[in-house]
Point group: C2
Chain length 367, copies 2
DNA sequence: GCGCTGTCTGTAAGCGCATACATCACTCTG
DNA sequence: CAGAGTGATGTATGCGCTTACAGACAGCGC
């Protein structure tokens, strides 16, 4: 039914148990301060009535919600229905891990988590909706106009995830968490060059603006330059979306191009690399024998494909957790003042697709 | 920063823009009803001030929050820290998919999603916290005492996910969504028997109570009986947790046992089956040559392991979506009265681990 | 000129709770 | 036995917003 009059309130409970609403409130907020018999009586009436304290009223009165928020972009496929059981599932990557990390950390601190993906053209902007309901929140880069964030961050803690500060002088109030994209990609690339003799690596980036991808590319370039390996100032290829399908297409194209085929496909993320692996297998191109392939992110999938994918693992779970820690610090007053900018380390994971990893593979199998 | 006095309110905006608070409110709730010039003036002041409407106050006044909730069990590993980069990642399965499904559907309907996993021994019960902040919510089976749910569901829409109604006479107010565990497992088992000549299948279940797992087992039994295949009244083995590690251990044990080895390991979920696959490979037991292995759930991983895993796919995303639909129906008054009980169909996915799937494998590779 | 209608805005009454403060009944102390 | 101290409860106010209702004012037909 879920509708017999409207929900009971403190008043109903108070009346039925012969106390004042203050006492009812105390039973929930501070049970010790109420005589046990009274407490029990109130609780029992509450149970009978099906009373549940209104979070809204609580929040209003106490000026805090006990909820943290997360805004992220809508990653869902345009043709989501069709993709239902395709590689949509494998797309369980970025936001999901962060959600999970945040949820865990939030729970530890007694917070719940409110999540919302951006909906293009909502009348009420996404943030406003979330911001009004939480004590503080995190935003995945490029989900929300920086200006809007800037306004909001004057009033409540906000942390920006992934992607460097977009505009150093306006986004002044935001705490900030990023990962070592540059370092990770550089180290991975150096490994390919030094340990596997790669000489003609091709970097495959994305057409859309992404500070992360750009940082990775710069890392790639740095390693090339250091080793005296030629590499253009631009990625060899930019794909529209960083999906498996696009990765496969990129591999096809790179193989079909005239001239010498690159001896390494360095992808800006794992998704594309996995797609490429499939495409190459289909074409009969051996990995890592004929060409080396690497990804970036360290999604679960990367360990499971054959050959297993050499990649750079981002600590996404930890990113979510770190976001919560930052928010909680702000909220508890442990930290005030200057926004911090945190850079999480990444780790290069050497597996079969670059030619490493017999040992690795054995260890993985041994699990 | 994030603290210069406290956040601005309607009053501040109203005063600064020379209108009443009612007008400010209208600017947000019903912009058309305010003269354009007035509206602009108000909005501009709001921007200057960094005004964001308080969700709490809104909710209180309007008696609705625009938020749906989800409570789920805490699946995290006991030794989470250690497991950080082990198969914890692959555990991205049940709750995550449902979260994603709900989030999408909720967004379509203009709701945000509040998620919270059960924390053992929190003072305020999980549900109470969530229930007080949302218009309606979904609960994964066995997350929350049924009695508590029953009370709450008298007051607001609640839908229970997965797992049959626990107690038909008390949980009367809940809408209910389950999947065809019985049918799915029966069909899968029949396939093994009829198409692959399996004669000594072993079912591996879980020690913990789970209506889903039981239903699957009954489906397994039904298929065996129908085909005149012997099968005890109990699973051959019950593991403590349905993890990869436990699945591997189960496989070991089944292989080590005296007597004839079963010709099929029928696992109650994919996780365990994947673990078993690894263990069997290590032992040099061929799948499906020496023994057939199947799972249940259809997690992404199942398609990626080698041999790819024959399983039963649960529409978990859809489950989340369906939950939202049910809630929204209740909330909008489209549906009232009797709780419904919805059973989502599952699909048997035949892949390599049962001996099918050369074609399948090819198709998968062709993607 | 009058009343009428319609548009825009203001007034005021809550929404359900938390909490400072007041009150009351006692118990202790000296 | 007065007065201070203590614990349990009640009173009253406000949190920031929505929304019925009322008021003001302009344009209309008569």
């Amino acid at each position: 039914m879920s509708a017999s009059g409207s929900a009971p309130t403190v008043y109903d409970v108070a009346e039925r148990s012969g106390v004042s609403i203050a006492t009812v409130s105390r039973v929930y907020r501070n049970p010790e301060s109420v005589r046990p018999e009274t407490r029990e009586r109130v609780l029992s009436v509450a149970r009978d009535l099906g009373y549940v304290p209104s979070g809204n009223a609580r929040g209003l009165a106490s000026r805090s919600t006990g909820v943290l928020g997360l805004c992220f972009p809508d990653y869902s496929d345009p043709d989501a229905e069709a993709a239902e059981d395709m590689d949509d599932d494998a797309a369980m990557l970025y936001s999901d891990q962060i959600i999970r990390g945040m949820e865990r950390a939030a729970r530890r601190h007694g917070y719940a988590l409110l999540i919302a993906a951006s909906l293009k053209g909502g009348p009420e902007s996404l943030v406003a909706k979330v911001a009004g309901r939480v004590d503080g929140f995190a935003v995945l880069a490029r989900t929300v106009p920086t200006a809007e964030l800037d306004v909001i961050s004057r009033r409540q803690p906000v942390v920006m995830l992934a992607g460097p500060r977009e505009n150093p002088d306006t986004a002044d109030h935001l705490d900030h968490i990023e990962v070592a994209n540059f370092d990770g990609q550089r180290e991975l690339t150096r490994h390919l060059i030094e340990d596997h003799g790669v000489r003609r690596p091709a970097y495959i980036g994305s057409a859309e603006e992404s500070p992360d991808v750009e940082a990775r590319f710069r890392g790639f370039l740095a390693a090339c330059r250091d080793a005296g390996v030629r590499a253009g100032g631009e990625p060899v290829l930019r794909v529209a979306m960083m999906t498996q399908a696009q990765g496969a297409r990129a591999a096809e194209e790179l193989c079909a191009r005239a001239g010498e085929r690159p001896d390494a496909f360095v992808f800006a993320n794992d998704q594309m690399a996995v797609g490429a692996l499939h495409a190459l297998e289909r074409r009969g191109v051996k990995v890592p024998g004929d060409v080396v392939v690497t990804g970036f992110d360290g999604i679960p999938l990367s360990r499971l494909v054959r050959p297993s994918l050499t990649t750079v693992r981002q600590p996404m779970l930890r990113m979510g957790e770190a976001a919560v820690e930052l928010l909680v610090e702000r909220l508890s007053g442990t930290r005030t003042g200057e926004p911090v900018s945190m850079m999480l380390p990444v780790t290069v994971v050497r597996r079969a697709s670059c030619g490493c990893g017999e040992a690795e593979a054995a260890r993985a199998a041994a699990r």
